[in-house]
Subunit: 460 residues, 2 copies
């Protein structure tokens, strides 16, 4: 038996949850999810700040490396026969970095789609929960109205018909009391009526934010892809201006990557804290937002054998009242119809109402049972804490790879374009024509060849 | 109100479903899903055969191209100064093809993961349905046993205690009859008892097959990735034996790609036929496998206002019987306990049993309602017809890209390695050292340079 397989925190959640957190004064912060507490907010902001620090450090390292390479190198003796060393390595490392960046982009697309999947699971679970809750309200309203209508019309008619027989009037009044009991008990079941929190609204808000998050990532990924491809093209065509533009763009994307890295790391940490024990937080938040009793919320959020159905008594009372109405109607039909044939129509109509009410009642019992809403809760948690977190970790990997790849490319690109020959208008990207400079070079004298170091020519 | 958002065939399903199908005699075949009919099987096999035809054609074209290039070219005049034309283009096109293949591999990994996601949704929906069905059986069994126990012990004790008062014995007998009615009605609710079809078994079978499918695709993707990377390495290092081995491996992967293309196309077509109107097929299949009445199956598979709950009557009868037991126990407690204090313990125990039975009854009503099982059905369909089909289409795109890329590579690779220079032991992949041959060449006489066409040197 047991509950159906619910949500279990994954290994990633445990791992991330166990990482130490600190506030701005570097005092340790407990890793329970508490987004309203200042020190917890500081702990997450510190993670973002760490990414900013990483960006600063990598920019300083790139600048230091480029300054060392360009300015502090001993001047080459003029007319030396050896080509500038490492030119090929520079281009190779640049290409390798860009390929790593492209692989990272693939991972990023996957992560973005996983995150989007997870969030759409969350919002579809919210929509389903909203459907359940609004169906409960609707069913209660419909059933209460139907019962009220029956009390006002058929039961009043019957009382008028039976005026002369007091015991029949008493039975009819009994049925009226039972119908009123049912209506009253049922009204207590529409527990979401008047609650200010709408899962539909939450789902729409979540989808709205997710749509822009998804779009922003797709744009970032496409931008980085374009930078990688155009940089490769620039290297292949030895187009100085293209490589310079792409160096600047790489710098921009490097900053964006570190920024997204910081946001992803902070979100992943916060999400892992939430996901390691979501029940308490969600329970408290829902109680604050809805003002519902803790017995109802416990029933739906925990939904195990230990928590009893808070509607059990109301359901049982309604059920007994419905059964009593049925037996009273049966009695009336047996005793009154032979004497008052005009009552038969009202009695049949009442039985029809009773049947529909019993059908609605069974549907209400099904909707009120914690199974359906708890399953939505489990689906929402799995979407957020499994798929969305996994996607976020893939996005983190993408940001890391792209930060590393772009930093390497930024180190290599200026060196690579410094090694490009002065623009030769006859050179084009066509493989067969590109060989021409080499052949010219071979047939010409030595000095022009100095400016054409074979080293960077080899690999494209 | 309406049902919660259920399964709707996607645009892909409609598109694929509208493609014409034909049997081996090329007579049109209706596109309704009928896997047991021979002509439908033939239509799917024809799709696989088309992929085989594609493989044959591409092999013939590759062979014809290579024969034309290698054998039918006018012999070059010895000592001609121009390099063999198109050598660079050959290498470039080979590299471009391999990069397209790598992009295809990325798409393939994504598609494989999507398909796996969809199938795991299907099997988790089956597991959830199995849990619901087994919980129904278990609850019915437990409740019937509990009622039987109460009838055997407490009610018998009460009858013995009340022996002297016939009207009390009659009330007790009435309660016993009602309890027996409840037990009998409840037994009819365990509709899945003795049904030979186990959703658990189906889920396990599906997961088992999916595991191997997933693994096979991962191995194919890794094989193709290795072939692409080692071919690029071979081109970069100009290693003839590596390129030859990779040409052979490319041929093997080309055959595998066309094979998987055929299987994917046939599966996607079959799946689109199934997904365009799954209800009828699944209903008929389930009816055959389980022997359940069509009212029950219609209720669960359609679950809309038009289909009434087939258990409604049993539930209402049980509910009324439970209410009757309650009122009889209330009457006994009121009238008998003052006279027979020894009956109180049995009466309290009976009320406890009644409360538990009412709780179980409400749980049964919830479990028997079509909402839960219909949602599982919808989840399974969405997993299969949205995620799995989408993943399959991505895999199809991967196979197409990789078949195209490998065919291009197979056309280019033999030409590329034919252009490699005889193995130079001093050449290695290090960028700075790779320039050495050029410099040697420049310093040496003209004839050795003839064997070193600049064209293939340029692009790597």
């Amino acid at each position: 038996m047991g509950a159906p397989p619910g949500y279990r925190p994954s290994a990633w959640v445990h791992l991330l949850h166990q990482l130490p957190r600190a506030d701005f004064q570097l005092r340790p912060v407990p890793s329970g999810f508490a987004p309203q507490e200042q020190e917890y907010q500081q702990a997450l902001l510190l993670v973002v700040a760490l990414a900013g620090l990483g960006l600063g450090l990598s920019l300083i390292l790139i600048a230091a490396y480029l300054i060392r390479v360009c300015c502090c190198r001993p001047p080459e003796p003029p007319g030396s026969k050896s080509p500038p060393p490492g030119g090929g390595c520079v281009t190779w490392s640049c290409i390798a970095a860009l390929l790593v960046g492209c692989a990272g982009i693939g991972i990023g697309f996957y992560g973005n789609s996983e995150t989007s999947d997870g969030v759409s699971q969350l919002s579809s679970a919210l929509l389903h929960a909203n459907h359940t809750l609004s169906t409960i309200d609707h069913l209660v309203l419909e059933t209460v109205e139907r019962l009220g209508e029956a009390v006002r019309t058929e039961l009043t008619t019957l009382e008028e018909v039976f005026t002369q027989r007091t015991e029949l009037v008493a039975a009819t009044r009994g049925a009226r009391r039972q119908a009123e009991t049912v209506a009253q008990q049922l009204q207590g079941l529409a527990f979401w009526q008047g609650v200010p929190l709408s899962p539909l609204q939450v789902a729409e808000d979540v989808s709205f934010v997710e749509e822009y998050r998804w779009l922003a990532y797709v744009l970032l990924l496409l931008l980085e892809l374009l930078v990688c491809l155009f940089t490769l093209l620039g290297l292949a065509k030895q187009s100085k201006w293209l490589v310079i533009v792409m160096t600047v763009m790489s710098l921009v994307v490097l900053v964006l990557s570190w920024g997204s890295l910081g946001l992803e790391a902070a979100t992943a940490l916060g999400l892992s804290d939430f996901c390691s024990s979501p029940d308490t937080y969600v329970l408290n938040l829902t109680q604050e937002e809805t003002g519902l009793g803790s017995d109802i919320l416990n029933y739906y959020f925990l939904c195990n054998q230990a928590v009893s159905n808070p509607f059990q008594q109301r359901l049982t009372l309604s059920q007994r009242a419905l059964a009593n109405i049925h037996s009273q109607l049966q009695g009336l039909e047996r005793e009154a119809v032979p004497q008052f044939p005009s009552a038969q129509k009202s009695l049949l109509s009442l039985e029809e109402t009773l049947n529909v009410t019993e059908g609605n009642f069974h549907q209400l019992v099904a909707l009120l049972h914690c199974r359906s809403l708890h399953k939505d809760y489990g689906t929402a948690l799995r979407g957020l804490c499994e798929d969305a977190l996994e996607g976020l970790l893939f996005l983190l990997l993408f940001s890391l790879l792209s930060a590393g790849a772009l930093a390497t490319a930024l180190c290599s690109l200026p060196r690579a374009w410094a090694l490009f020959p002065p623009r030769n208008p006859s050179a084009s990207c066509s493989g067969s024509r590109l060989s021409e400079p080499l052949f010219h070079a071979r047939l010409e004298a030595a000095p022009p060849l100095r400016s054409l170091p074979g080293c960077w020519r080899r690999p494209h």
